[in-house]
């Protein structure tokens, strides 16, 4: 392990450390099956502090979902590693990994797809409790009722099937199931984007509540900047597999320093016709992650007045700009 330089206080503060992570997917195209490589996550390092909510924001194809899934080794990274409280997840055997799953969980975007349609929701929550030997029989059932209460579901719903519940209720079941194994770390993969606004607020409040009550650490993956602003302590903005900006939420939303972050914030609609806001409309589509641009991945759509040849040739590294804010832009401080 490579952390002797850090003070012990800080290093114990880190729960999950993602180090130079790369994930590639092969893409086969055409009849001749020329093999290309899609680099969904490209050299990303990120540390999650114990007890924080780190928002991971990006548009489709940014690699945010892939990064979230690598963080709990649901998929195997191509390169780099993920340390969980000092354990390199890649070194775990299949058996040990199964046991390790108690400590890190995932909540899915689509609450209907992530529940077995032929299993009563109570059984879906009870199964992991029994498999991990947390409780059995009537005590496991009591624990399920307790979990249902905790996520705001009537305990009488244990005998229902997923299709008999509303979207919001199903997502509560998904959350109860993730909590059933008493994890420390939960990856929330777009947990509210399939829900209606009124229900979305319920689930967001619930997630904040549960974090406090159980001292959880979240990686909150989302495309909706407003939702992330509401829950996250820190926010990482991804574009084409790389982190463009990483900052404390209070800083990022007040003083975004990367042009892409600024564009995202200005494009996010606000339910207030009188709001005065900077209006940036990016031209064109994001380039394909199979053939990312040279230099700064964002240079093809960038509107920064200082944009020049350097942006095309040299990729900017993520570097600290101000306290609690790092940005991968050569001219982040020259607006």
């Amino acid at each position: 392990m490579s952390a002797p330089a850090q003070s012990p206080r800080v290093s114990t503060d880190i729960l999950v450390e993602i180090d130079r992570l790369v994930k590639e997917f092969p893409v086969e195209r055409g009849l001749l099956a020329t093999r290309d490589v899609l680099r969904a996550v490209n050299d990303v390092s990120l540390a999650l502090r114990r007890g924080e909510i780190l928002g991971l924001v990006g548009e489709s194809g940014s690699g945010k979902t892939t990064l979230g899934r690598c963080a709990i080794r649901l998929i195997q990274p191509t390169d780099g590693r993920v340390m969980f409280e000092g354990t390199d997840l890649a070194t775990l055997s299949a058996r040990d990994l199964r046991r390790f799953r108690r400590r890190m969980q995932l909540v899915f975007q689509d609450p209907s797809g992530s529940l077995n349609p032929r299993m009563k929701v109570g059984d879906a929550v009870r199964e992991p409790i029994e498999v991990h030997d947390i409780a059995r029989g009537s005590r496991a059932r009591a624990r399920v009722a307790e979990l249902f209460g905790e996520v705001g579901l009537d305990p009488s719903y244990v005998d229902r099937y997923p299709h008999e519940l509303s979207g919001g209720q199903r997502q509560r079941v998904g959350i109860a199931r993730a909590l059933s194994v008493e994890p420390q770390f939960v990856v929330l993969d777009e947990p509210v984007s399939a829900l209606d606004v009124s229900v979305q607020a319920q689930v967001l409040n619930l997630l904040s509540d549960l974090r406090r009550r159980h001292a959880l650490t979240y990686l909150f993956v989302a495309h909706d900047l407003a939702v992330v602003r509401h829950v996250a302590d820190r926010v990482a903005v991804m574009y084409l597999g790389r982190i463009m900006e990483l900052a404390d939420a209070s800083v990022l939303y007040q003083r975004p320093s990367h042009p892409y972050t600024r564009a995202l914030l200005s494009a996010a609609p606000v339910p207030d016709p009188t709001a005065k806001r900077e209006r940036i409309v990016l031209s064109g589509d994001p380039p394909s992650p199979v053939h990312p641009p040279s230099g700064c991945p964002f240079h093809t759509r960038c509107f920064h007045p200082r944009k020049d040849a350097r942006c095309v040739e040299e990729r900017p590294e993520l570097r600290p700009i101000t306290a609690g804010q790092s940005t991968a832009c050569h001219y982040a401080d020259q607006w």
Partner: protein, 338 residues
Amino acid sequence: MTPLLSVRNLSVSFATPRGVARAVDDVSFDLLPGETLALVGESGCGKTVTALSLLKLIPEPPGRTDPRSRVEYAGTNVLALGGEALRQVRGGQIAMVFQEPTTSLNPVLTVGSQIAETVRAHRETDRAGARERAVGMMRLAGIPEPEERYGSYPHQLSGGLKQRIMIAIALSCEPRILIADEPTTALDVTIQAQIIELLSDLRKRLGLAVLLISHDLGLVAGIADRVAVMYAGRIVEEATTADLFARPRHPYTEGLLQAAPRVDRPQAALAAIPGSVPSATAWPSGCRFHPRCPHAWDRCIREEPGLLQAGATRSSRCWLVVEPERRRPATTAVTGTA
């Protein structure tokens, strides 16, 4: 101003295994020339069914449009039309853009030929003329290099470009009304901003009236002139955009605005609306929002309010309009997050 489109007492129901679902119940509204009217609501409120039934696009059965429903356009009831007359209104006078550009385009035809096809369905023109017009529409819809893109297949284009193609198809026959059903929901934020800009630009240039169907209050705030909020198959509030967002008069609208997280300012907590949307087969008695309403009293349970005038240009389906003293002070009924 005389309305361009006038919807009166529109009721649409569906036969389901669980009973009759009254998806849209006695909905009336006007669309004025050149304006953008937004129909806002959450899933299951009936906004999409309303949009589809304006052009008789609801399959019957299982759907059933109440015979008293009227959709008046240029002096005729669209719902009474059939055959050629209906076809001329669809696309020719009233066009539609859907949420999912990927499934709305035919995957085995080039996008250009799909635009040209629509042109030829509504106009006397030869192949070359249709092609020329299609290229012109693609340019109008902001598609770069339209001549080259003419021969592209849908899968070769990004989601944003496909939605631009859909808009080109919709506008190719110079309709006077555009119905846009969640036109940006399937798109990324930066692309969504492009499409919204395109739509408002086209509206000004072509003098279109737009009926925007959306669940996104932020989107609506940005482009609509007037807003009608739907809940449980009914319009519950109607007002100009400025009035609605400044001072919502229906508790549901109020709840929606408080529940939506905002990107432009920090918020302490989100006030969620308790419970969930009722089922269309069993709407609650009285006011359909009463089980979730913080102000509800016995009258709300017994008696459903009509759309009550709440000002010169606005109305709200809520008894608070006539009994404002019943309003409870803002409670601390906030769950979670201190």
